[in-house]
């Protein structure tokens, strides 16, 4: 998400995706929250499945090398967690990127937890970084809670990636202070005090702020101003996104195929249209649901 915002994907874009409303430019409200994507920002749409996009990143890197105007200038970058690195696709992806080879930067964010499973139960070896050399991939492990260390490690990794036209692996060590998701209560499997300690002692934002303050580049006034402004921006976007309807209901059936629409999808869309004509205005649960869509399903009802 940081990458997207840095590249100009707006808070409104992000909110629209999270709410799945009619302004969701990532996927028309089809995916769960935080599944962003934007060709304009060179950001492939996120899939919920774990690690499946790691081998794809090798292909993307190879394609970049074969694209004349981007060759030698662009690399593929692929983010994943230490849990995803247990999937077969991780090993397949690194092997492809190193053997073919392709300029792909693999960034493993090791935050210690995959839902409830601590990294100690995820691997017995030396984390993710230790696997890089096995694939002949230049690898660096960095303190993921040190902003400047991450910046310098990734810069160097990118330089090597471009220069050698080969994959590089970065493992950033961190700690997940949040719960896995809104339905997860992580205190069922770890001590609250452990999390609170981490928040206080090894918080990357606090550490970076203290650094800036020690240099005289930042102070509490600037901090308060920034926090207040960002919070306001986020809440404004939140309220706006909340009030918007979803896309039109016909989008249920679009984008399954490119080109000519196959007969069975056409037929199924017509079947739903017929059902909506019959029950859409009389059956209360459908009426309520239709009201959430832009145009209330009229484009299908009218056929």
């Amino acid at each position: 998400m940081g990458v997207l915002l840095w590249r100009g994907f707006t808070i409104d874009n992000a909110m629209a995706q999270c709410f799945g409303n009619m302004e969701d430019t990532s996927g028309k409200g089809r995916q769960m929250p935080v599944h962003f994507g934007s060709p304009k920002h060179h950001f492939h749409t996120i899939s919920s499945t774990l690690a499946t996009q790691i081998p794809q990143a090798a292909g993307v890197g190879f394609a970049l090398r074969r694209t004349p105007e981007r060759s030698g200038k662009s690399i593929a970058a692929c983010y994943f967690g230490e849990g995803a690195a247990s999937e077969g696709d991780f090993h397949a992806g690194l092997l492809m990127a190193s053997t073919i080879p392709s300029p792909t930067l693999f960034i493993a964010r090791n935050n210690g937890f995959a839902i409830s499973t601590p990294s100690t139960e995820q691997y017995y070896g030396d984390g993710i970084a230790a696997r890089g050399p096995g694939y002949g991939i230049d690898t660096v492990r960095v303190d993921g809670n040190d902003v400047l260390a991450v910046l310098s490690a990734v810069k160097e990794a990118r330089r090597r990636c471009l220069e050698q036209g080969r994959a590089v692996l970065v493992e950033a060590m961190s700690y997940r202070v949040g719960h896995h998701s809104t339905s997860d209560d992580s205190f069922a499997y770890r001590a609250r005090s452990e999390v609170e300690d981490r928040k206080k002692i090894d918080n990357p934002i606090v550490r970076f702020r203290l650094f800036l303050e020690s240099k005289g580049w930042w102070d509490s006034t600037a901090e308060e101003e920034l926090k207040g402004r960002l919070k306001q921006d986020v809440m404004k976007a939140f309220k706006r996104a909340e009030g918007l309807t979803r896309c039109e209901l016909k989008e249920l059936f679009t984008d399954v195929y490119g080109g000519e629409e196959p007969w069975h999808l056409k037929e199924q869309r017509e079947e739903l249209s017929g059902l909506l004509r019959k029950y859409g205005n009389s059956w209360e649960p459908w009426k309520q649901e239709l009201a959430k869509f832009k145009g209330k399903g009229e484009e299908l009802i009218k056929g």
């Binding site: 769960m32 492939h44 983010y79 995803a84 995959a114 209360e284």
Partner: protein, 412 residues
């Protein structure tokens, strides 16, 4: 280019707890019809909520003596589906020293709470977390089972079973055949939550049972309730074949029954007729069982707002409702006997229509019941699209769609 992989494994499902009790498939937004409210899962008449009815579950076989008779001292306890699944695994672990339970996040109780307390009770050597690798989990289970052990593996969501597809289809299904019957992995059971909850999107709503239909050697089982889950899971664990056991995730909390606490099994490969009738057969499995029940009630007592679409001549129609339970190999006798009697068949499943399990069933029914059919076999299914999050309620079959198909098939 930037590509990221994020897996939102544990979405908002558990919020179901606090959701209001108005169901998509309930008619509670309407004034109560003459025959009373249409059932929802919580009030379904298909659930056995008394000790007596629970002990009279058809096909129930007590493990200790294989008898089907009710013994006076049998106890039952109120359980939801995840508690019944846990109870079955607890029995398997107690009675079979070789049994182990493993998968992602199972040690702390599992994301759907099915393994709560098992690690504490049986130790971390027998109930343990695995790394995040579905092919690893199933392959490991195959190895255990090949050595004669009992492997109860969990794949966290059926949507994530595909990395293990090779292990299941090329390995688990084929071990017995390729070894000339010398090896088998009958001790392997792969549990996995399936079907939609209404807000899961592309990767938390799928029903992939159809993908396994061609994998001869595997069995596919989908229970509809706590008693069914316990009896069928113990039946699957003890079946001499590898079984993929798919648990409809919306039923984990919402379906509650009195469940016999003793060790019992329900038979694999046998459908169960839940309502009898001679006018039309409705065949389904898992979550849609309850939508079908609602639709059948609505046929008899249509809510005033949609009454006009239900010809009054159909209100006394007698509908036979069948829960298929085992998807592979499926109970062709029960289905064809019913359709030969009713002449009409509606099949309901959440998976897409094209090559969903309904396709195979329709083909067989058409062959075996051709001269007895009064209407084409009708399928009510998810559309042949991925399950888009915001569109889910118009994608997954609900009671009205089922009702409409019943009416059309009856008036064909």
């Amino acid at each position: 280019m930037i590509s990221t992989t994020v897996r939102s494994r544990l979405p908002r499902f558990l919020e179901l707890r606090s959701r209001p009790k108005v169901r998509w498939n309930s008619s509670s937004a309407e004034p109560p019809p003459a025959g009373g409210h249409a059932p929802s899962i919580a009030t379904s008449e298909l659930l056995r909520t008394t000790r007596d009815s629970a002990l009279r579950t058809p096909g129930l076989s007590w493990a200790e003596d294989g008898s089907k008779t009710i013994v006076g001292g049998r106890e039952t306890r109120k359980m939801n589906t995840y508690q019944a699944v846990r109870d079955a695994m607890s029995i398997a672990l107690t009675k079979d020293e070789s049994a182990v339970v493993f998968g992602e996040d199972v040690a702390f109780g599992g994301v759907f709470r099915c393994t709560m307390g098992l690690a504490e009770e049986f130790g971390r050597e027998r109930v343990f977390n695995t790394p995040l690798t579905e092919q690893g989990i199933v392959g490991f289970g195959i190895g255990l089972a090949a050595m004669g052990h009992t492997a109860i593996a969990e794949i966290q969501f059926a949507d994530y079973i595909f990395p293990a597809f090779d292990q299941l289809v090329n390995e688990a299904a084929k071990v017995r055949y390729r070894s000339g019957g010398q090896f088998n992995v009958g001790g392997l059971t792969v549990r996995t939550p399936t079907m939609s909850v209404g807000h899961g999107g592309l990767y938390h709503s799928q029903s992939p049972e159809g993908f396994f239909m061609g994998a001869a050697g595997l069995k596919i089982v989908i229970p509809r309730s706590p008693i069914q889950a316990k009896g069928l899971l113990l039946g699957s664990i003890r079946d001499p074949n590898p079984v993929v056991f798919m648990e409809p995730k919306i039923l984990y909390r919402s379906a509650v029954e009195q469940v016999p606490i003793d060790d019992f099994t329900l038979p694999l490969g046998r459908a169960e007729t839940l309502m009898t009738g001679n006018d039309i057969t409705v065949l389904t499995w898992g979550t849609p069982v309850y939508h079908c029940e609602t639709a059948i009630h609505m046929l008899a007592n249509p809510p005033p707002s949609i009454e006009q679409h239900i010809p009054s001549s159909l209100r006394s129609a007698k509908v036979e409702l069948i829960d298929l339970r085992t998807i592979l190999p499926w109970d062709i006798e029960t289905v064809t006997e019913s359709v030969n009697r009713t002449g009409r068949l509606v099949i309901v499943h959440e998976a897409g229509m094209t090559l969903g399990a309904g396709a195979e069933i329709s083909a067989q029914v058409q062959k075996r019941c051709f001269l007895k059919l009064d209407a084409p076999v009708r399928r009510v299914t998810g559309w042949d699209t991925p399950v888009g999050l915001q569109y889910e309620k118009f994608n997954i079959p609900d009671a009205v769609r089922i009702l409409d198909a019943i009416v059309e098939t009856l008036t064909y």
